[in-house]
Every structure is written in C-alpha cells, then in structure tokens.
Amino acid sequence: MSEPKWIELEKGLDVIGDIHGCMDEWLLLLEKLGYKQSADDLYRHPEGRKILSLGDIMSRGPRSLDSLLFFEAHIKAGLAYMIDSNHGWKIARWLDGRKVTLAHGDELVEEEFLEYERQHGSLATNRLKERIKNMLLDAPSHYVIRDQGSPMAVAVHAGIRDDYIGNHSPKIADYCRYGPVVGVQRNGKPKRGDWTIHHHSPELIIWGHDPRPVAVEMQRTVNIDQGAVFGGDLTALRLPSKEIVQVASHDYAQAAINPLDEWFEKRRKAPAFKKWLEGFTVHTETGREIQVESTSLLEALDHFSNVALPLEQVVYLPTSEKHVSILAFKDQQAAQKWTGLSDLLVVADSRGCAVSSEDEEESHHKRFYAQIEESQDFTKLESDWLLYEGVRVGDNIQVKDLLASERGLNLPLNSGESVQQELAVEGIKRLIRLESVERIHECILAAYLLK
C-alpha cells in the first residue's frame, strides 16, 4: 500500500465500479466504451483513454482470477489504474500468508486459486500469487484526478473525508476501504455512516462499495457501484464528460439479503424532521436556493402525520386546488417496492390529502387505472410507476397529462412559473433520481409552508 497518487486526466479516464469477478460484463463494458483488443491481448482505447478501477474487482462473482489477471497486465502496461478496497485488502493479506478468514465471497477467490494450482502446479501458482499480491498492495487508498494540474475528482472505494484527500496514514487507508462504520445492524452487518453530507470541497468524489440502483451525482459525490454481482449494472463514469455507461448483469452472488432490495427499504425510512426546525433551504437541480421559514413547521408535520396521505405516497403538491396528482404503479409488487404499501393508485390534492371518500375512491380508482392501463404507458416507458396530473371537473376528476416515469420527466415541466411549481418539479426529479422519501418530503414541506 503506497502513498495516494495523482493521475493526470490527459486523454480521458473511464472510472469503473465494483466488478466483483463479473468478467463477461466487464468485457462487454470495455467494448461499449470503445476499447479494442490489441495483438498482445491488451485492451487499448483508440483515443488513448485509460481505465481506473474503484477496487473490489474480485470476490462474490464467477471469474475473480481473470479479473485480477486483467488488471495486473493492464496496470503493468500503463493502461489502467486501481485503488485499494476492502476485498482487495483482505485478499492481499491472504496472499501474503496472513491468518484471515475468507468469507463474503472471498472464499471463491481461494477456490479459483486452488483450481489454478491443479492445472498449472504449485510453482506457477506461487509466482502468480506473488504478482497479484504486489498489485493489490501497491493500490493506493485513493487517487486524485487532475486536469492540467488542478484537482477535479477523487476516486476512492468506500468513502473519504475532505481533510484526508491527498494525505496518507493507516487510519485514512482504513477509512477509504470501509467508509465510516458507526455501529452494527440487526443482521450483524456493519452500520455505515453517511460521509457524503460532510463533503464540501470542490472535487467530484467517485466511489463504490455500497451498491445502489442508480448512479446519481449528489453534492459532488457519485456512487458508481450499481451492484453488478447482485443482478444490477456494471457502471463506468467517463471523465471529463461525466457520461454514465452501463452493462446489465446477473445476480451471481445470490445473497440472503440483496443490497439493492435493501436499498429500496432504506429509501423509505421515516424522515428526520429536526433539521427543518430552524428554517431550511431547498437546493434545486437548476441551482436555485429556496429559503423556507419554519415558524409553522409543527403544524405542517401534524398535517402530514394525521390528515394527509402516507408520506411515501406523495411526490408533489399540485399548485392549484383544481389539480390533483395521480401516481400509478405497474403492479402491487412495484407499489410495495416504492411506497411500502400496495395501493396501485394514489390520488392526492394540493394539500397531499386523498381526494375522494373511501366509497367513491374505489370506483374512481378503477376507472383511472383502466384508463392508464389502456394507454400502455407502463410497457412503453418500461416504468414501475407513472405520474399524471388530473383536473377536477365538477365532482369528477379527469386524468390529463403524463408528468413523469422512471425514465424521466415526460413533459418539459416549466419550473419558472412559481416557487410551488419549481418545488413540484424538484420533488419529481428527486423521485426519478431515486432519492429518499425524506428528500422528496423536503420539497413537499417547503411547498406546503410557502403556500
């Protein structure tokens, strides 16, 4: 393990999330990124771009050894870089002959080495082990990526503190490998703290380790581990364009608790309200800062606790009393995944309340749902949910425009009209970006308080 290093952006870098032995997907991704295999078997990019792996290239998946060999060859040839990681560190110490317990898919790496030994003998295996060990131990805790000398991004496996960037110590190396560990969960897994909220320096921090369904930049941090080995995607982030390129993968790990499913559950956690008590600011994607005073916050929270629909089911507040929001789910499984409740249809008014009485609701909902199904939007847009705007006409409600789906905003929603409109658009965008119920609720509360 050596000092943290600088990389010059030069012709461009492709930063790769946790591969975990998903070699087939990795080769497909390389092809998609435009790399070509040369006569010496190495992959080169015609524009001279280079590869930077965020670590955890092995373990859990089917082809760890191939993945290790790929990076060993490409790093040696100056075509790729790799940083240190929790699995990498474990395997390095195992290869170094230390007493470690191989678990969480690391035992599969041992199996692959045993198979290699059966085929190539112990001498060749020992030589190979030495090479792989050296590669893993040489991997720095993080890389600072510079564009013509000035830092523009940091690549790290699990997390970093701003004051650790460019520095080195065993404590920093541990932090970069595992992230901040703040306790133990009910299932015995470590409970991770959220370090991203403390990141204020200007570099974009690119990290992996903690799989989540989408790669979204938040507060100048982006997680590009989309759980390839758990049936998600293998992700590359291209620099400097920040383009995301992905290849779909299979659930090789078959873990008892799939972290991608677990992530959806965490997304629905009850919002922590204390941070809104002294007034707060909503930062929109468009760069606006909307200030909100909190003098009647408790009345608003009372409303959303006792009168309004469940927080998980409300995405935005329609800006006029004439309008309603209609959120529809493909099936009950999709509804459960996104809201924790099985309602296929949620119709909410401008205060986030159910629009019709329970008796009316059933017939209304059946009619809306039939209409939505008829449109075949679920299939066309390949989305678990669809969000429409409805209009009240007398006692009736008419489904009007489709506002958004998992694919993105459907209408060029004009956010400039009013603050309420801007908050509605921001809330919907947060849902599309798969942000937490708490983050979406922040926009709803702001809209409610500013009314």
């Binding site: 956690k269 922590a272 929270l301 009372d302 099985s342």
Partner: protein, 168 residues
C-alpha cells in the same frame, strides 16, 4: 379509575424505569398516573397534534415532565435507547397497513428496553386474519424481545422487553 393505565404505571415502576416516553399522550391521563412514580427521572409527553400539546400545558408542572412534538411517521433521534416507550394511541392513529413500518421504527431504531402497546378491544387493529398477540410475535421475529400480554377491563396490553432486560 382507568385500570389499564394503573397497570402500566405499576408495571413500569416494578421495572424501575427512569426514562419514559408517553407517545401519543392525548388527554394526559396516563401521563398523570406515571408522574406519581418518583423514580422516573424524565417523562416525555409526546403528541403529533399541536392542539393536544397545547392542552398539556395545564398538566402539573413538574421538573421531570417534558413535552415534545413527535409522530409515528417522522424520525427523531432523541427517542433512541429510552427505558420505556408507551405507544398510547398507535391503533387509533395508524392504519393497519402502516403498522409494521411504525413498529419497526420503534422496536429496532429507537430500541427501548420496554415498548408498551395498548390495544382497545373494539378496534379492528392488525391486517389479515391474525390476532393481536400473533401479530406482536411476528413483529419480534428476530427474538430480540420477550413478550408479555395483560388483559385489563378495557384493553389488551402488550409489553416488549429486550431480552437482556427481561427478569426471570
């Protein structure tokens, strides 16, 4: 006299609790009953209704009594690791289909030594065909708590007690 409240107050006294949260305090009758227990160092009277909280001001002003806004649907770190939390009006305020998420928040995030649920006889409470005690057991699938039930004149009370705090 309300026998359920007396029973709970007495039970908590025997468990020697020092920090107690009366969640969903309503009219404050249980709070007053609990205030008789001088071993309680801090008693929080919590409600999600701003109106109810205002009317609490008329309760006896005691140094050990604090009132706070709190809801089943919002997270508040201050309820972590208390000796006892009483979910007073859980079944009145929370629809059956939302109960599981709420109980998870209290049992596993707030993680009190004792969690008390009060279930009125007349209320349709939990989803599906299972009984209230059966439902409580499914909520304790990790066996982190021991469960006790007490049938009073008016209600069925369930107490979840963390295993390490369960007395033989």
């Amino acid at each position: 006299m309300h026998t359920t409240y007396q029973w709970i107050a007495n039970e908590l006294k025997q468990q020697r609790v020092r920090t107690v949260v009366d969640f969903g305090v309503g009219d404050g009758i249980l709070t007053q009953e609990l205030l008789k227990n001088t071993k309680i160092e801090t008693l929080w009277a919590v409600d999600s209704s701003v109106e109810n909280l205002k009317s609490l001001q008329q309760l006896a002003k005691r140094a050990s009594l604090k009132s706070a806004w709190g809801s089943y649907f919002y997270y508040d770190e201050q309820w972590k690791a208390k000796d006892a939390i009483i979910l007073h009006d859980l079944f009145e305020r929370v629809e059956p289909r939302r109960l599981e998420a709420v109980l998870h928040l209290f049992l596993y995030d707030y993680f009190p030594k004792h969690l008390v649920l009060i279930n009125s006889k007349n209320l349709h409470t939990v989803e599906g065909d299972i009984s209230f005690p059966e439902w409580c057991h499914t909520m304790n699938s990790h066996q982190i708590y021991t469960l006790r039930f007490e049938q009073t004149d008016e209600e069925l009370v369930a107490i979840f007690t963390r295993k390490e705090w369960t007395r033989p």
